[in-house]
Every structure is written in C-alpha cells, then in structure tokens.
Amino acid sequence: MLSGLFSFGFMINAFLATTAVALVAGPVGYVLVLRQQSFAGHALSHVGFTGATGAVLLGLPPLWGLVGMTLLAGLAMGLLGERLAGRDVAIGLVLALSLGLGLLFLHFFTAYASQATALLFGNVFGVDRPTLLTLAGLGLVTLAGLAAIARPLLFASLQPELAEARGVPVRLVSVLFLGLVALATAGCAQIIGVLLVFTLMVAPAATAQRLSGRLGIGVGMALSAALALLQGWGGLVLAYETDWPASFWITALSGACYGLALLRRPFRSRRRGPDPLPAR
C-alpha cells in the first residue's frame, strides 16, 4: 500500500526536505538541550513567525523573512547573553509579542489565512523545488558552522568557567551557536510549523540524551539526528496513509519516543549541585 508513496513529486520533495531539516535539527537540538536553552530555541521560532508574515506583507517569500528574523533574533539573544537567554519571563514575552505581531501582519492580508496555518503548523507537502534547495543549502551551512565550533562550544556548554579560563571565547561561541539554532529553527518551521518546532529540535535531542548518556556526545548527536529523521519520515508515511496532518504525526511520534525513553530509566528528581552560587 506504500507502493504509491513516491509516485508523487510533492511526496519526494517532502521526504527530501524532512531529511535536510532533521539531519540539522538533531545535532543542533542536542547541544541546545545540553545547554538547557530549549526554551530560547522555542522563542526563536515564534520570532520567525513575525518575520515570515512580515515578509508576506512586503511581498517577499515568507521563508526569507523566517530565516532573516530568526537569525537576527538569535544573534541578538546571544549578544544579550545570560541577561536574556536564561530568563523565562523575558523569553516568554518575546515569544508572545512575536505571535501578536505576526497576527497583526496577517490581519492586513486576510487572503493569507491558509498561509497562517501553514506557518504555524507547517506544510511539508507544499515544499516546492526552490524551497527544497534553500532548505538543503541552509542545512549544509548550519552543519558546517556546527562542525567549525563544536569543540569549544561543547567545552563551554559543560564547563563555562573552566572554558573561559582556558581561553575559549565563551560569549562569541554562544552568539555563533544561537545563530546556528536560528537557522535550524527556520528550517524546522518550514516542515512542522513555528508552533511545533520543539518537536524536531528538542524532543529527539532529549530522547537521545536519555538513551546515550554513557556513550559520549558524538553518539548522542548522531542518535538525535537519526531519531529526528525517523520521526520525520514516519510522520510523512502515516500522513500519507491516514490523510491526517503530517505535523500531528511527527509530534505524536516524537512524544511517544520520549515517553519510551523515560520508561527505560525511571525518572528521578534532578539532583541539584550543592551550594548553588548565583552567577558572579
């Protein structure tokens, strides 16, 4: 019954686009979770919504607005550093404001109601050739960037003070990383929608982290990419079979995988290190 799956051009595009996005979201998300910045990543996608709707308003391709705005916001967030990136309230506000602004932009373009749904919840079957190429290009750039900063990034994520003392430009690394998160987020938003970016960026990464703790960071990142890929593909197949939205299936699969990972090792309350000192 799956035989007809690849007889449609849009289906092939959807698979290729999901592949390009998942292979990036997996490893970038892994580091995002390691740095406990997943909420920041979530907010970035919402800023992307403002960018996309703003671009539509200006007659530009929404993907450009999406990429441009998330990148800008990511770099800004990195520059503001801990003052913003670690603050739930500030991030939550940015998130809400972005959605509000996006809504306002859409209001001027009532004809784009379906576009709003596509932006918010994704439209993987609507990916055309140029979009696919853009996504692949974005993915390559992001992965190359991650490979270029991986070592100091991981060191600074695990042991910021030690890394700083050893000469790692901690601030620069964190700005660059949020830039990469922004690019990865923009890609994810194209597939699964800005509201559900968490599903591809964070869920596979968190699952991988639970499963691969003993095996090292490299294995964890690879596993995270593999999970994102399988969940993405699985979502497409199930959507094809059921005619339900692919985004729903991807969230369901990633939630199920995370749930299974939780079962594998009983959940313990996280032990906080003793003497939690306020940042200098």
Binding site: A156, L162, A165, G273
Partner: protein
Amino acid sequence: MTDAVLFDGVRLEHPGGRVVLSGVDLRIPAGAFVGLLGANGAGKTTLMRAILGLLPPRAGSIALFGRRAARGSNLVGYMPQMRAALSVSLSGRALVSAAVNGRRWGTALPVASRRREVDRVLELVGAEALASRPLDELSGGERQRLLLAQCLIGDPRLLLLDEPLNSLDPSRQAELVALVRRLQREHGITVLFSAHELNPLLGALDQVLYLAGGHAALGSVDSVVTSETLSRLYGAPIEVIRSGGRIFVLPGAPGLERAA
C-alpha cells in the same frame, strides 16, 4: 627557582567598582600546597580569577612562573566553585574529554591521543571506573574527583581549586585532600586550595593564605592563624583556639569566656 605565583602591589576590583583586595604582595613558591581561607565574599574566587587572567588587576602585577598572568595559560588548571550545572545524563569521560584542547576550533574526533590524555588524568585521580557512569548518578565526592581529573588535562603546573570540599562529608574531605596532596608531591604541582574550614587541610598545608577586610596574609599556619594576625587582618578581635590538633577561629575579643 622562580615563584609559582607572584603578586606585586595588586589591587582587584570588580567591574562595578567594588574593591575586593588591595595592596596585596605575595610569593607562593613553586611546589607548595597553599590553603586559601576567608569568609564568604572575602575574595577567594576573585583572587583565582585574577590569577587566571580573567580579572586583570587595577594596580600592580601578577606573574606566574616568571611570566605575566594571562588568560588561557596552559600552566594553570582550574576547578571552579561548584555550580548547579553538571546534572546532565552524560558520562564522566565525556565531561573530562571536552577539556582536551577545548579552545581549538573545529570538531573533536575520537583520536587515540585524546583518549590517552583522558585515560592519563583519570588514572591520576583513580576515577577510571567512575568515568563510564552518568554524571547525574554520581555522588558529590565522585563528581569532584572527575572535575579534578578534568583540570589536570594539559599537565598544568599550578592548580587552582575553588572550594572543592563543599558538600563532602569529613571522610571524603580527607580523601580528596590526600589525593591533591599526593598529586602535588609526586608531580611537583603548586596547589592553591580554597576552603571555609582550615581543619581538613591542616595535615597537608605548607602555607595558608588568609583573606579578610580586603587584605591578604600568607605564611605558615603557626604564623598566620593567630589571634594577633587575624585580628589585624579583619580589623576586629578574632580569637584562635588550638585544641587536640585542631584550630578554631572565632569572632570575639580574647579574654571572653571560651565556651564555644
């Protein structure tokens, strides 16, 4: 032999303008085990950050082994004061190996030289078995040993250990002090070891560096930890009681009843 650490008229200020230490002159000889003591906020961490080159002195100069202290020096190993971080489900080995050439751009590949360096430091602290377990399952003392291994990466000649005894029970404290003492002896490493309590360190110390009231006093335990020196340092009466091989530092005027 050059001194491991040389402070010459050093004044340390935080960016906000808060003066933490001023007019500090000290010479820590290479190979010494120095206990760094002082109350909360006395400036222990600040002093270490200055030695690391992260907080350049406002006045005076700091030299390490005859060279001006600068950020990113390979001569110095650092174990930061424990923060709430590190409760990740990642193996100890992954944590330790993140520090190997950690400042170099690019991606760290699992090459043999990297593995050897990690094995070497794990063996130094006897943490080979711990290294395969997830960090968030380790006890405080076990984690501390891994962090010690991590700061030995690159074979530093000076170790700055910021309150490594926090949250350890007395026997683990003694173990860790003995371990650091052994490393210091066998490898000729200079150690600056900060703590709130003097007693766990007593058997290991060559010298004690006391911080109080913006000033510092360095010397043997017998010369520094006295009612006279500490009262001068704090600018307030301090009582020092020696009893059964242990030393108690108490606020209060000498001559008051010794009930504590």
